[in-house]
Amino acid sequence: MLWYWKKVGVKRIIEFVLLTVFAIFFAGPLLNLLVLAFCEKWNYPDVLPEAWGFKWWNFVLAKDDIVSSISLSFFIAAIVTALSIVICIPAAYAFARIQFPLKRMFLFSFLLTHAFPKMGLYVSIAVLFYRIGLMNTLLGVVLIHMINVLMFMTWIPTASFRNVHRAQEESARDVGASPFRVFRSITLPMAMPGIMVASVFTFLNSLDEAQGTFLVGIPDFKTMPIVMYSIISDFPSSAGAVFSIILTLPTILLLLAAQRLVSADVLASGFQTK
């Protein structure tokens, strides 16, 4: 944009300062945890640690409840992801391709998951779960994890199914493919990127979910974020930093793997129509 760059000078300096503040604000906390996790000795006014090492990694990995929280988190996230794929993908296909009564009402009803403040919703759910005996059960935790993902797990795949051209499906039918064959060989592969993105988000979302689990899963379902709550108050900051990295690592790896598929547009389509 030329009209903008013509006014270089003070503008560029302001721009530079703002962007630096921005970078420090967003990257600083994460970078700080990274440094803390590998430091062994760090006296107060020093800017960098005096001794580096893996002392706190050994400390954290030797704690049984911490290690078991990792496997519990992955176990729950896997269940939530599998369950939401099985339940939501057929619904998404129906929304995109099939005419049935009250279709609009059903599609919009998924917006309800995002039309209420989260903690209020979790407390309401906890009140219900208390009454029907789902507090401190695996089913209760899985259900509360599904609230956040129901919407983008139906909306993103719905958008992907819609984007598959009907002409392609029809021409496959014309050469004699059965409806199921068309779905498996044409529709599903073409909608796959959207489904993959939604599934990755679902997995990550469940891995990171803290507030709902804190309400309904205590005391038996201590997932990683819940353990993190207590680590923050009970352990030195280096131990917390090590655990933060362990908790963030799966996210970073999965995102790198799915990098090609994740874009602002796909993400935004899970929350609004365009």
Partner: protein, 279 residues
């Protein structure tokens, strides 16, 4: 059975399982907490649980505190995110490319981790304090009070809001902007007449998300906030889990629903309108 009937049944059968989950985790809990919040201590129905919200000194302070934080955060988030989204839409170059590639990362960082990182960076004797000490500046107390909660909420909300807004701005055709410029529209005119009107809907959706996100937040106020006044999210959890007053917790939850009802209804309506055009 006719073909339409078969289709209709198949469609319903495919949608019902996910709707059933929605029923259990959203619709029934909300109706139930409404009912529960209307029961009084003797088992009858009245508004006494809501009465407490406005007469109890601590509770009233919590509500005002929550609203204050929410309004401040919304204003800051929208201002910063909108500027950033506009900046990314109308500038090119390596810096913009870098922001575009990285600004979504915080979306995927667990809230607990981000809050913990902020505590370590900005807290007493934190990294920033150490760095500033070297150039002779003492960092004032900025975390563990309302500033801390606002800072954490900025961290959580700016990336998401920027994402929504830049996706809306990307939808504005460059030709519209070029032709406006050709007929001599200045930068502010361009913004007021074209860019903002073409993206204000997403702007409102973003406002809805931030508003509800902050009112319903728990992690930041739980880890950073003082014991009183508390944000409603943290206070609700305490009333439910520690004091075990489920009716009162339900009333607080429903009160936050009421606070967000206008924006929530707007969100569903505007989504529904857009979708109707396409169905």
């Amino acid at each position: 059975m006719s073909k339409e009937w078969k289709q209709a049944l198949a469609g319903l059968a495919m949608v019902l399982p996910s709707f059933a989950i929605l029923l259990v985790v959203v619709i029934i809990p909300i109706l139930q907490s409404l009912m529960l919040s209307l029961t009084n201590e003797t088992g009858g129905y009245d508004l006494s649980r809501y009465h407490v919200l406005f007469t109890d000194k601590g509770m009233r302070a919590n509500i005002l505190f929550t609203l204050r934080i929410t309004v401040i955060t919304c204003a800051l988030v929208l201002l910063i995110s909108y500027s950033l989204a506009v900046y990314m839409r109308f500038n090119q170059g390596p810096i913009v490319e870098l922001i575009r590639k990285t600004y979504m990362i915080p979306l995927f960082i667990p809230g607990v981790i981000a809050t913990y990182g902020l505590i370590n960076l900005l807290g007493n004797h934190g990294w920033l304090a150490r760095l500033l000490e070297h150039i002779g500046v003492t960092l004032p107390r900025i975390i563990f009070d309302e500033k801390g909660i606002i800072i954490a909420n900025l961290w959580f909300n700016i990336p998401f809001t920027t994402m929504l807004l830049s996706s809306a701005l990307a939808g504005i055709p460059s030709s519209v902007i070029e032709s406006a410029k050709d007929v001599g529209a200045g930068r502010y005119r361009l913004f007021a007449r074209f860019i903002f009107p073409l993206s204000y809907k997403t702007f409102l959706v973003a406002l809805t998300f931030v508003f509800m996100g902050v009112i319903g937040s728990f992690t930041a106020p739980f880890l950073l906030g003082a014991n009183s006044p508390q944000m409603l999210g943290a206070s609700m959890q305490q009333v439910f889990s520690v004091f075990q007053e489920r009716e009162q917790a339900a009333a607080m939850a429903f009160f936050t629903f009421l606070l967000c009802s206008v924006l929530g209804a707007f969100y569903i309506r505007s989504m529904a309108k857009e979708e109707n055009v396409r169905m």
